[in-house]
Assembly symmetry: D2
Homo-oligomer: 274 residues x 4
Amino acid sequence: MRLLFLGDMVGKTGRTAVWERLPGLISDLKLDFVVVNGENAAGGFGITEDIYLETINAGADVVTTGNHVWDQKEAVSFCERHDQFLRPANYPSGTPGKGSGVFYARNGARVLVANIMGRVFMHPELDDPFTSAEAILSACPLGEQADAIVFDFHAEATSEKQCFGHFVDGRASFVVGTHTHVPTADHQILNGGTAYMSDAGMCGDYDSSLGMDKEEPLNRFISKMPKGRFEAAHGPATICGVGVEISDRTGLAERIAPLRIGPRLTETIPDFWR
Amino acid sequence: MRLLFLGDMVGKTGRTAVWERLPGLISDLKLDFVVVNGENAAGGFGITEDIYLETINAGADVVTTGNHVWDQKEAVSFCERHDQFLRPANYPSGTPGKGSGVFYARNGARVLVANIMGRVFMHPELDDPFTSAEAILSACPLGEQADAIVFDFHAEATSEKQCFGHFVDGRASFVVGTHTHVPTADHQILNGGTAYMSDAGMCGDYDSSLGMDKEEPLNRFISKMPKGRFEAAHGPATICGVGVEISDRTGLAERIAPLRIGPRLTETIPDFWR
Amino acid sequence: MRLLFLGDMVGKTGRTAVWERLPGLISDLKLDFVVVNGENAAGGFGITEDIYLETINAGADVVTTGNHVWDQKEAVSFCERHDQFLRPANYPSGTPGKGSGVFYARNGARVLVANIMGRVFMHPELDDPFTSAEAILSACPLGEQADAIVFDFHAEATSEKQCFGHFVDGRASFVVGTHTHVPTADHQILNGGTAYMSDAGMCGDYDSSLGMDKEEPLNRFISKMPKGRFEAAHGPATICGVGVEISDRTGLAERIAPLRIGPRLTETIPDFWR
Amino acid sequence: MRLLFLGDMVGKTGRTAVWERLPGLISDLKLDFVVVNGENAAGGFGITEDIYLETINAGADVVTTGNHVWDQKEAVSFCERHDQFLRPANYPSGTPGKGSGVFYARNGARVLVANIMGRVFMHPELDDPFTSAEAILSACPLGEQADAIVFDFHAEATSEKQCFGHFVDGRASFVVGTHTHVPTADHQILNGGTAYMSDAGMCGDYDSSLGMDKEEPLNRFISKMPKGRFEAAHGPATICGVGVEISDRTGLAERIAPLRIGPRLTETIPDFWR
Ligand SMILES: [Fe+2]
Ligand SMILES: [Fe+2]
Ligand SMILES: [Fe+2]
Ligand SMILES: [Fe+2]
Ligand SMILES: [Fe+2]
Ligand SMILES: [Fe+2]
Ligand SMILES: [Fe+2]
Ligand SMILES: [Fe+2]
């Protein structure tokens, strides 16, 4: 099974690039399942219902999010209406929306996707991501109710990301980090068979600070005073993601490689899909 | 001019891999200058004088460090005796050792190397890294007292790293991040001609948590209680670094590409050096 | 019912002062119940079994702790043997020891004591303190299984402390903060009848940095480099705590006032007990 | 010399209480000098020019601030026009306004007032508060260009506050902390003669979370999702501050005691002024 994950879409340039390229990628690469993180799709801050719908239209099977999920007020309500929208699972019970779900891939496989947030340097008041993952895996184990299991682990610290990967190693198909907006080159298949990559990077303008226009962030580092607002950068976007080949038999990963398309970073397509 | 930077050596497996491979890399790739970060070389915590000397013997021109610089007590004294050893420049005045220096490359070029630490999520009590860089660049501008300028920016947050890159863009040859122990795939040449990469990754065992044996870090995430000590992992190391081709004329970067050698990550050598 | 809470005993000077003065206070003030925080009693770092036992001998009904609970390795085992020892309740299930318990006061009242840790600026990986408190209160509500309920809320941020107070207001007799080692003067009875004080302060040497010898902490703020170790200060201790008069009928608070005995701070005894 | 310091005015209720009571306090207590922290005077966020002027009219000799100084955009410009307005001194050079100044007290004494911000848990990117204080004290030493020296040290962590106190002990008349909005009871005269208190508390409604309406802060702790905005509480305010008697001869402190007037906390006036 061929699964593609695309990192945080940032602003108009990021989401437009995904909308334009994703349909072609799905048909060219014969993708069975696509997950896209959309937490920064609306000008860098959250996601609107229209953007969500357009991303699903472009071929995403699931849209995940992260700490920016509620930046657009409407997310609090539309998250309840759309089955393919995930917010981090480790919000407390009673939070609108859901953090995981089982979805059907184009090849008929049942894919459990879970969106979990890290806490280190991030969002200490969320529930324990490890406990949260354990509950999700217990309720729907790989090889039983799920043919593949994917975690979008939205976190800052590489230690927490790597430990999370080891924690679910052998019990999930794929763990991919998001949130730093920088793609890492440490993709590997862990000892137990789980594909792992610390961060997928973002889909956005890499001539920027995390996809945001660099002027104000740089100003704040230098002057320590706000001058303007944070706005999404609007140069051409580079799409960053990662492709994983998942065994139909075991649900574990067979291959993992990055996908990058755009002007700023080294372009690459998983060679096992070419 | 051909410059190679290698990320944080972690533990015995990391430093041994560097010592074994670096001499061959220098001759095979005709390297003019090599910088190695050594802050975790002694069992994950700091660096001893012997390890420093062995690293210089293996061909490093400069050894940089980071937040772990003082973990081995002896560093406080030996840092004063060795010219090619750098601690972060933004420690307060009066701190032993030095944070930057000008060194001669094999091709005769004067290379300014500076080691600076970020503050976000890290070490808030250090001096401002941006002010610190400004002072270093003013005292020794590119094209005047320096033919090449390299910053090892030891930091956690990608926002701070990227803003730092933009801050010195056009005034330095190369900014490379260290500290997360995960190589990033965002190497690029910024608009002003400075080569940039958010993190070089580590030289260590990538079947681990940041190069440390994963058992105790994972235990702490799960049980929230210490059980044992943090120890360096001892599986085979992957060397992670980055190569930059610097213009002899302008001191700015012409090419940048990662270098990775070892069993866990995708191996690669800058193709412009093959 | 007369309840006395004493803040974190720090080092030998702090614990000795408590052991010497507590028996007299209990008889002079006719105290029904005494809780003492002991997380820094062993040289500033954790607590040993001997210190725990001596504190119980001196008249404490319960010893609470905080983030330093496991600093002395032996705590991991002795916490299981001693009924009157509490570690923070919001450690994950499976953690040795317990975070709350019901104890009998000298007047026969059943006193529920719970030790909970805040997360802001502190210990993000613990379970949600608010959820944790809710579970404790549901299992043993005031006026049903408990005649009085006391929370030692061990936390850094005043916002989290105050919100915690409001959260249990009317459902607990008393919320007292610990951890900052500085007594606050904001004791009051909240609208619902719960006595509240942001921090009890410590029992230790107030010519110090948080009860620790001030030389090394000050050195680190100035030089940013470790020079020596952190050691408890050894000047004469000031005992800091707070007294609460709890209604035998409702279990809510009728009076609250600080208690401070020692050379450095303004001495005071709750006037309603004189 | 009689100096009164009042903690952060929060919102309309806080500033109004100060405006109403300060003139009477100045005449009744024969105050020579008054400093008021105004960083939350405008609805909890920053301060406007009108509020500043009214506070000066009410008798404040200096208005200090903190991390909220720039919340109201107009502060960036009016800070330049008003001599008695201070922002934290450890903003980088080039920041509008000033962080310290020498002012004349009613008794003719020259009073150096400096506003400095801590960094721990706060604002890591500011300049080192200790270095900043050193520079201020060197330029204008006690007993030479200044007859009294007061620091408003705006910080979160009690360790940083206490170490700051020890750092300037014997070289300043008075160090008072602000920012936690909770008055502490640890006022004392340090060994070298400097009066010290970890936090002055706020002038605001103490039936709140830090002076803000408690509903939204509590909601965020419970639900982890924003529901509304943060708004200043509007119940009756308690004025919190501290009085210091400073020797006309040495500039060091002779007496220190809190001042609290209002409905929620125990009222008190320095007894040496009665
Ligand atoms: Fe993001
Ligand atoms: Fe994020
Ligand atoms: Fe490192
Ligand atoms: Fe580091
Ligand atoms: Fe403590
Ligand atoms: Fe503590
Ligand atoms: Fe404030
Ligand atoms: Fe503040």
